[in-house]
């Protein structure tokens, strides 16, 4: 029954994607963040919804004429493609388990396909905002569902993350939700009806509840950063601060002692087993990069047992850092976007990754201050806060290939192009040469 209902509601998405190409990528991101697979158990569970929408979007692009279609380009896009290329080369010479590495690569490749389509089609304000709305209602499904489970069980339910997605554990989910919070705040005033604005305001509050409900320490630090940044930029500081405090303190009250005990371990992280596991993973990733500086170990290789065991023998080379090590027989994920890329793709990989983040951060900062239109300044500022949360909280999480990050960087390139177009138009209309001619 559930599968039939889902299927019936999925059909309009396919139809609209077929009729209008840019709606194809809107439906695509909705499906990626909703993760329908988790709620289906019958015939629809095996359907590859994202794949179907990607194919429909390509067909739609071929058969429909789109006056706003543009070639993808820009420094940031080139950096992303080079990063994909470097990851491919690293995987070809992987020292880990190739199947696992290529599975990560496949997700990253799909993210790059989405980026390419975004750059081709999202060339108006309406298209960009429709895309963001679909992204938020897709993610909103999981955010509302998980946050309510946490509140209804009075904090005894710990939000575990979303299966079959890139946010499979609590820490990753916390950061994924945090990254969407600035977008919720940006999009809410643009909605046409009061009810929708209220609903989205509620979603924003539930984002904070979700982060607290994951019991993620990195997520909590990120929440403080995002909350502070949003408060700084808000025009209604007192109202925003009040709503933020109500939601956060309500969730903390519900989570009670278990949550507070967990957060207090931030102070003595150096003796915490989980933290020791992370620092050991960082050391192993560094040793892999030192051994294979040009290509790294290949995606997902550092956490495979044979690689971990092999490089653990040399771990005393990094003893000067003064950090104790976790057990040799317990391989761990890199637990840091930076060390993840360093171990996976070597020095060129980390340079490209840092280049992507640095370029994106600078571009969003510039646009948030100097763009001609208010909405571009607002959206750039939201993306800037999102990037800041990613760069800070991501230092403790393996999330380097997260599709939403690359999709929003692509949106950033789109708004930069629109801003340049504005400047060109302004100079054309105000140029004295034009008047003379």
């Amino acid at each position: 029954m559930r599968d039939i209902v889902f299927f019936l509601f999925f059909l309009p998405f396919v139809y609209l994607a077929f009729r209008v190409p840019f709606l194809g990528i809107c439906a695509w991101i909705w499906t990626v963040l909703l993760v329908p697979k988790n709620m289906l158990f019958g015939f629809a569970a095996d359907l590859r919804f994202t794949y179907i929408l990607a194919i429909v979007t390509i067909i739609s692009l071929v058969i429909n004429r789109d006056p706003f279609l543009r070639k993808p380009g820009g420094t940031l896009y080139v950096l992303m493609l080079l990063f994909l290329l470097q990851s491919s080369i690293s995987n070809m010479f992987s020292i880990g388990i190739p199947v696992l590495g290529w599975a990560v690569w496949s997700d990253f490749f799909k993210a790059m396909m989405l980026v390419t389509f975004i750059l081709m089609m999202l060339n108006t304000r309406n298209r960009i905002e429709t895309f963001i709305k679909l992204m938020l209602v897709g993610a909103g499904f999981n955010i509302v569902f998980e946050a309510l489970k946490f509140l209804v069980t009075v904090g005894s339910y710990r939000i575990p993350g979303i299966l079959n997605s890139m946010l499979t554990d609590n820490n990753l989910f916390a950061l994924g939700v945090l990254m969407l919070l600035p977008l919720f705040i940006y999009i809410t005033p643009t909605l046409k009806t009061k009810n929708l604005r209220l609903a989205f305001l509620g979603f924003s509050g539930l984002c904070a509840v979700c982060v607290i409900g994951t019991f993620s320490r990195g997520g909590f630090i990120g929440l403080l950063i995002v909350g502070w940044r949003l408060l700084q930029k808000s025009k209604k500081k007192i109202l925003f601060g009040f709503i933020g405090i109500v939601f956060a303190s309500g969730a903390i009250f519900v989570a009670a002692d278990g949550w507070k005990d967990r957060m207090e371990t931030i102070d003595d992280a150096k003796s915490d087993a989980s933290f020791l596991g992370r620092t050991t993973a960082w050391k192993i990733a560094t040793l892999v990069a030192l051994d294979r500086p040009l290509i790294g170990g290949g995606q997902d290789s550092v956490q495979t047992f044979q690689v971990w065991d092999y490089y653990y023998r040399e771990i005393d080379k990094l003893d000067f850092l003064g950090l104790a090590n976790a057990y040799r027989n317990r391989p761990k994920a890199a637990h840091s976007i930076y060390f993840q890329v360093l171990g996976d793709a070597g020095i060129p990989g980390i340079l490209l990754f840092l280049g992507i983040l640095f370029t994106g951060y600078r571009m969003s900062k510039r646009l948030s201050k100097h763009a001609h239109q208010d909405w571009i300044r607002g959206l750039a500022s939201a993306i800037n806060t999102m990037l800041l949360a990613y760069m800070v909280s991501g230092a403790l999480l393996s999330m380097a290939y997260y599709d939403v990050l690359y999709a929003m960087l692509a949106v950033l390139i789109c708004i930069d192009r629109l801003n340049k177009q504005d400047i060109e138009n302004l100079t054309r209309f105000t140029s004295p040469d034009k008047d003379n001619n």
Binding site: C26, F68, R127, E129, K133, L134, G140, F145, K192
Partner: protein
């Protein structure tokens, strides 16, 4: 329970897509006018 949240998410998704489609048509017409 999840089906209710799904229906809300899908309903909102379709609503936003239709709204976006309508606005896009207006944008395309304006673009054509500008080119003329």
């Amino acid at each position: 329970m999840s089906i209710i949240f799904f229906l809300i998410s899908a309903g909102l998704g379709i609503y936003f897509m239709l709204e976006g489609d309508k606005q896009d048509k207006e944008d395309q017409e304006a673009e054509l006018e500008k080119k003329k």
